[in-house]
């Protein structure tokens, strides 16, 4: 038996000795993949993407490292079209680990569009698929999705509450969430209705309420000046004097403009605060990716 094995080994050795090496075609899958990796490493991302796609179509296999690199490219370039293609063509054939990564990027893109309905659908779908349980997404990813949904629904206090547990644990890895928690805690809204009411009573005070002191002050000064001039000329020369009507109209016009400005100023203040909060969450997606 041993002799037979030994003879077989010798025969095989001599066969390999005289075997001619196979040559690869430049467009063969291993070379296409190697070229794509080379392009990715050199920073030619668009070219690398097209080579990876060629590789996928040639082999009909979706190697994890190639899929991750294409996902990286789409995430870096914020390429929604590419991600949609990935969801349609690659997602069903990928391993669960790769699918979770693609889902994370999907969540980041939907949040970036501030699409409340789509994010809610995504969140509920993933919850129903059991990805929020053990073995699914990581706990910090689940927290990020939860907080993202709450922020999109404008439930900032609830988002702060969700983050509160993180703060108490004091884990280093969640330091980014602590900053978001503080922003949520300090998040204050200005009521446009109250801004309008304040300006109706004391012109310019609605803008002070929204934090714009000098605009409110100049409105107050302008309205007071025109009103007092109209009253003065009314008393001096009677109501038929052209100045009464001119100054009176200008005072009325400024008053209406101030009311509108106070209302929209409060809205703009709220929108600005909200946008800053959303940008912080976008940053969290970048960090966690």
């Amino acid at each position: 038996m041993k002799r037979i094995l030994l003879l077989a080994l010798l025969a095989l050795t001599f066969c390999r000795l005289f075997a001619t090496p196979e040559s690869l075609s430049p467009y063969s899958p291993p070379l296409v993949k190697a070229f794509a990796d080379n392009l990715y490493d050199q920073g030619f991302y668009q070219e690398a993407e097209s080579e990876y796609k060629r590789y996928f179509f040639m082999t009909q296999t979706f190697q994890m490292d190639a899929v991750f690199k294409v996902l990286d490219i789409y995430f870096m370039q914020k390429n929604k079209t590419g991600l949609d293609w990935m969801n349609k063509e690659l997602f069903p054939f990928c391993s669960p680990e790769v699918q979770k990564k693609i889902d994370f990027v999907n969540a980041a893109f939907i949040f970036k569009e501030r699409n409340q309905k789509d994010f809610s659908d995504f969140f509920n779908r993933k919850k129903n698929e059991g990805l929020f349980a053990e073995g699914g997404f990581l706990s910090k990813e689940i927290l990020l999705f939860t907080v993202s949904q709450q922020i999109l629904n404008k439930e900032i206090k609830e988002a702060a509450q969700s983050l509160l547990t993180v703060k108490n644990e004091g884990e280093e890895v969640f330091s980014d969430f602590k900053l978001l928690y503080e922003d949520c805690q300090n998040y204050k809204l200005k009521s446009p209705g109250w801004a309008l009411t304040f300006s109706a009573v004391i012109p310019g005070s609605g803008k002070w309420y929204s934090g714009n002191f000098w605009a409110g002050f100049s409105d107050l000064l302008g309205i007071a000046s025109f009103t007092s001039a109209a009253v003065y000329y009314g008393k001096e020369n009677g109501i038929k004097d052209w100045r009464v009507w001119t100054y009176g109209s200008m005072a009325a016009l400024l008053y209406v403009v101030d009311l509108y400005g106070s209302y929209t100023g409060a809205q703009r203040y709220n929108q600005g605060n909200y946008n800053n909060l959303c940008k912080k969450v976008d940053g969290l997606y970048e960090n966690l990716y």
Binding site: S23, P26, L31, F35, Y247, M250
Partner: protein, 302 residues
């Protein structure tokens, strides 16, 4: 004995297995096909796709040395020059120069001239001076390069100085150039360049701050900057507002002045001051472009 034979066989088997793995490579014909395919795409104006194929050809050099690597680098350099990525264009032309050490002088000259053009385009894009470029200095001043290359380097430098309005440096370099290559410009061209230089030296730019101060009399600053239409507009508008304000104050209608006339008068008067400054900047830019044009057209035709 048997153990020795077994061990020897195993060793031989391992050696030849490895060898056969190393021996897998791309055939020379197929490698060159990639280059020719790229060239075909280039000629059909599919330059982006052609560049990808040339990149693939460069990558394949690890598997099979090709005979068109220098040409591939040249195409890549041309492509990145077209898309204005001058750093990559320069990188590839330098690779081509290193790849072609044994070429005839003709091939090398065209590479150097390409490199000079890329450096000039990059300097223009980044608004830099080529005077400090060591490579260009080497091309101009060392005798290792042909006259064609030296002239191309001088041309790039002088165009760069003309576009950046560095006329003192331009004059110095122009004089050095005509001392070295006195027959390069025709007599008419030399006269045009020299008269343009005189006009440029004699040109006195309008001072924006002086235009602003003169505009304390509305319209005078714009007139100084050469814009008669703006001057009349500013004079009429500001004049009427100031006149109305003076009338209101003199007739005792201080409230009319404060509430109706003061704010528009101040705003339009301030606008008049800024407008005079803007007019003088525009005048200077227009005049410089006019004076620069004859020199640039001669240099670019070199």
């Amino acid at each position: 004995m048997k153990t020795c034979i077994r061990l020897l066989s195993l060793l031989l088997f391992m050696i030849f297995s490895l060898n056969s793995a190393w021996a897998q490579k791309v055939s020379a014909d197929e490698c060159e096909q990639v280059f020719f395919y790229g060239e075909n795409l280039w000629n059909k104006d599919c330059k982006k796709e052609a560049a990808l194929e040339f990149l693939r050809y460069v990558f394949l050099q690890d598997y099979q040395k090709g005979s068109n690597l220098a040409k591939a680098y040249e195409y890549l350099s041309d492509y990145y020059f077209l898309v204005k990525d001058y750093d990559k264009a320069l990188n590839y032309i330098l690779l081509k120069e290193n790849e072609n050490p044994g070429s005839t002088g003709q091939a090398l000259d065209s590479d150097f001239i390409r490199e000079i053009n890329i450096r000039a385009a990059r300097a223009e894009k980044n608004k830099e001076s080529l005077r400090l470029d060591l490579n260009l200095w080497t091309y101009r001043h060392t005798g290792d390069y042909s006259q064609k290359v030296q002239i191309a380097a001088w041309k790039a430098l002088m165009i760069n100085e003309a576009k950046n309005d560095d006329w003192n440096f331009f004059e110095e370099d122009y004089l050095t150039f005509i001392n070295k290559y006195s027959h390069f410009f025709t007599t008419e061209e030399k006269e045009v360049i020299e008269s343009s230089l005189e006009k440029i030296k004699a040109f006195k730019a309008k001072k924006p701050m002086l235009a602003a101060y003169l505009s304390f009399i509305p319209g005078l600053g714009q007139l100084y900057a050469g814009d008669v239409k703006d001057s009349l507009n500013a004079f009429a508008l500001n004049g009427s507002l100031i006149g109305l304000s003076i009338y209101s104050i003199c007739s005792g209608n201080v409230s009319d002045f404060m509430l109706l006339e003061f704010s528009p008068t101040v705003r339009f008067y301030r606008g008049n001051l800024y407008n005079a400054q803007k007019d003088s900047y525009e005048y200077n830019e227009k005049k410089r472009t006019e004076l620069r044009e004859p020199v640039l057209s001669i240099l670019q035709a070199m």
